[in-house]
Symmetry: C2
């Protein structure tokens, strides 16, 4: 296990414990709702967004504890988007990370409500932090109708439409990159970073966020079910507007390399040691799951 793998494992464990500590227990009324929330939160996600938040904070001279609340809010919010995206009226997916999706394991109403509750809880967690205003603004803007939700709406609207360079870029920027970018900026905010540093983190987050989504699109075409834990080629089958579908595999790989290069260059502007962020950028471009 190299250093990055050790770091990822350690942080994921700490985030797991913290989420377990703050989420209402499954005995809290209504029990089934809280069970569904926990089912999806503890479904074996990589915790990429909270880890980025913590790593960004550390790269600005902060400590992990300062960024823990913001980190958890990002995972709560990300998980709600997965639950709602999987719903029958949306992507209608039955498998996620090798397990039945929330509306299959429970029922559709419970899945809608569990998603709503995780979204609401993300802002409850931020409400307890010293920088509630700046953090809530960053998260809400990234997650809202001009960010993640807008991206999902455009993604659904684009299904089956002819390939469109501008549209695929807009979808990726909003649906995926916006929250990854917010994770990095929120980490900087927790560490008291300057405006210049926050802007560098935003550029880094945007670049790796786009690279992450193109990698995801490529994996959807090539990985095996076992590696990915979800239906393979389902994007393709649904006529989703993916980057490889528009630009081809070779151009996709070149674009990923460019973005990772761009991301690493912005790291020079950070006041602390950015090695984790640099290795995370490479990890995102080379992952096979």
């Amino acid at each position: 296990m190299n250093n990055l793998q050790t770091y990822l494992k350690q942080q994921a464990d700490v985030i797991h414990s913290e989420l377990d500590r703050i989420l209402p227990t499954i005995n809290t009324r209504p029990a089934r709702l809280h069970e569904a929330m926990r089912y999806s939160i503890f479904a074996g996600g990589k915790r990429l967004r909270p880890i980025l938040c913590i790593a960004a904070s550390e790269a600005c001279g902060g400590i992990a504890e300062q960024a823990m609340g913001a980190a958890c809010s990002l995972e709560l919010l990300h998980t709600y988007t997965l639950i709602h995206d999987d719903l029958p009226a949306m992507d209608d997916d039955t498998l996620r990370r090798g397990r039945p999706t929330c509306h299959i394991a429970f029922d559709e109403a419970t899945a809608i409500l569990a998603g709503d509750a995780l979204l609401t809880f993300a802002f409850e967690v931020l409400s307890t932090l010293p920088k509630c205003g700046a953090l809530s603004a960053e998260l809400a803007l990234a997650a809202g109708s001009r960010g993640v939700i807008g991206g999902q709406a455009e993604d659904l609207a684009a299904e089956g439409k002819p390939a469109d360079t501008d549209r695929v870029e807009t979808i990726h920027r909003n649906k995926t990159a916006a929250l990854i970018r917010a994770a990095c900026v929120m980490g900087g905010l927790c560490a008291g970073a300057t405006q210049d540093t926050l802007e560098a983190l935003a550029r880094y987050g945007e670049a790796i966020g786009l690279a992450f989504q193109i990698t995801d699109d490529l994996l959807d075409e090539t990985a095996t079910l076992e590696e990915l834990g979800k239906d393979i080629g389902s994007d393709h089958a649904r006529g989703k507007m993916t980057y490889p579908a528009v630009h081809g595999s070779e151009q996709s790989k070149r674009r990923i390399a460019e973005l990772i290069q761009e991301a690493k260059e912005t790291l020079q502007a950070l006041p602390g040691d950015p090695w984790i962020l640099a290795e995370l950028a490479d990890f995102i471009a080379t992952r096979n799951y």
Copy 2:
């Protein structure tokens, strides 16, 4: 038109203008999503929660402008709960305030996303306010899995079950009273109220919130379609656990009178003039729509 009616009309107009000013226009990308958000926000609601927030603020010596952001966040949040409650997987309602519900006027995916976006936008609005932390905490706790969302989950779970005094009270407290209570407390917070005053506002809000829901249940059984703008007796037909179903109409009316009395008594503890809050309590108990 008496003084209360004039006040309600004036405040509703100001809130309408403010919501119109802050919501993204229908030309904002993705247009259909923003159209759906505005369709539901401007569907002719009474604006009860934002008006309560403003009136509570004024009864603590504050001015309406101070409470306007918090007031708008309450209406944004309330509207999202209506959109999601109406979904086919939930209450499956096709009419709301005399118009097709959001998922009928648009489609199910758009309705889910429009609800998500309004919920997120509520916290974006709070993020810009000086007391973001306290206001977000109050709203998130009231709206979350132990508040409104939990109440809706219990409401769905109780359908067709035998009448249960404890359960109907829990559902009402969470599903309806929690947000009305939060509206009053948030108004107090905007005016810089003391802890004692906030507690009095919470008791007032809880009491009128419960009275509001029992009145709603009675109206569902007796009003005409024209008065109510939604399917009549639909709660009854679905086997919803309503207060009149458990306790009968006469006991329901007695309980409403008790709650209104209780609400008015708590108003004596407020530092400013509480006449609007007193009249609002009566209005809630005697409304016929």
